[in-house]
Symmetry: C2
Subunit: 232 residues, 2 copies
């Protein structure tokens, strides 16, 4: 199993597609040649080409739009990806995931407090405005707004790799996050904790932003642990 399998034609096609994207200077969103043209250009049949395309699609390098064409995907420039096949997180994994966030996100909140630009700050506020608008109602929208808040904070830190890591962690346990949101005994409390993080970032108080973020995530972890001990 440690042996490298013999390269297939489909492997070679994947490489050639990546090269075509790179040498063509294509950016995410750019349209690529059609499958008919590509299969001709590479002298292969469309089912074989499509195998390569599906592979690239699965990793976000391209998007196939039925009837429209093939487009370069946003994830082509990423280093780290969320596993798209994750359907259910084991309980032990969930706690480890929260611990990972507890290790990574507080220092990022501190960096965000140091780097805060006005546009990014506006995005952060907007996310919390959205969240506050949904406090009394829609679960999905509240959840999205809260995740946007965490993502925006990670982005503000100015390290794209760590932002990708946080994004991946948030993405991969979206369903569990929704469940956590539902068992968190006070949506208001969650929101208030987010607000204290925002205040610290606005005040450029790195230490406080870090401490607030850590307290928030540990609060979440505590709630999850309690839930695990007394499932309802």
């Amino acid at each position: 199993m440690s042996e490298v399998a013999r390269p297939t034609l489909s492997d070679a096609l994947t490489e050639r597609m990546l090269e075509l994207i790179r040498t063509g200077g294509h950016r995410p969103g750019d349209r690529l040649p059609s499958t008919r043209e590509l299969s001709q250009r590479f002298a292969v049949t469309t089912p074989t080409l499509r195998e390569a395309l599906r592979r690239l699609e699965a990793t976000g390098a391209i998007e196939l739009r039925h009837g429209s064409g093939i487009y370069v995907g946003a994830a082509i420039e990423r280093l780290v990806l969320p596993n798209p096949n994750m359907r259910e997180i084991r309980t032990a994994q969930l706690l480890e995931l929260l611990d990972a966030r507890i290790l990574i996100e507080p220092p990022l909140a501190a960096l965000a407090a140091r780097h805060a630009g006005s546009e990014e700050l506006a995005a952060l506020k907007h996310a919390l405005d959205e969240a506050s608008r949904h406090l009394g109602g829609e679960d999905a929208e509240l959840h999205d707004a809260n995740m946007t808040f965490h993502r925006a904070t990670a982005r503000m830190a100015g390290n794209s790799v760590l932002h990708e890591v946080v994004d991946s962690l948030l993405t991969v346990h979206g369903p569990e996050q929704r469940e956590i949101q539902q068992i968190f005994d006070d949506r208001r409390r969650d929101h208030d904790e987010h607000l204290t993080i925002l205040e610290a970032i606005e005040a450029r108080d790195a230490a406080r932003a870090e401490e607030r973020m850590r307290a928030h995530l540990m609060d979440v972890k505590t709630v999850v642990e309690h839930r695990m001990k007394s499932p309802r």
Copy 2:
């Protein structure tokens, strides 16, 4: 582009494959039914099935072995993956990646010092023994041993999610790591720094392990920065 594309048959097949793996209680390495059987069972043609299989293969959920069969892949249980399409890291990204490692790996070294078990410690030592054997010779082997050291340290920390993150970061910039190894002015120095980390972990000195790891990675970053300022 924010619209969810219409689900294809191939999408559905991907889901059904994941379900088959899950409900079958399959573990990584287990053999799955053949493509002929699967295409019959799912009532689709083999090119369509193969699109789904390629998608799963790209994300490590399965392995296709020509002439042998389809096997469950190790990455099926992962949350975070290295982007397999990454061929070249931009310079700015490389520094951010090193910063990400500087944020994540030192606390993991501290955790490793607290959790060190005898088997894991042996693996760590083995990695450094391997590295010392290749100090005067093979680049690839030295590189592999050094990466094994970092991976083993992250694993010892006992958080599988963070281990995946570190593994992803190390995997995705393997080529750059090799280059860094070549420009690092003293292989001995690199090795010695690894040894001080090992000593701290053996001594269960969490603070020192963390400090040694941070110093080591910042040393690496410094070298890279110098290289960027005066390319050779």
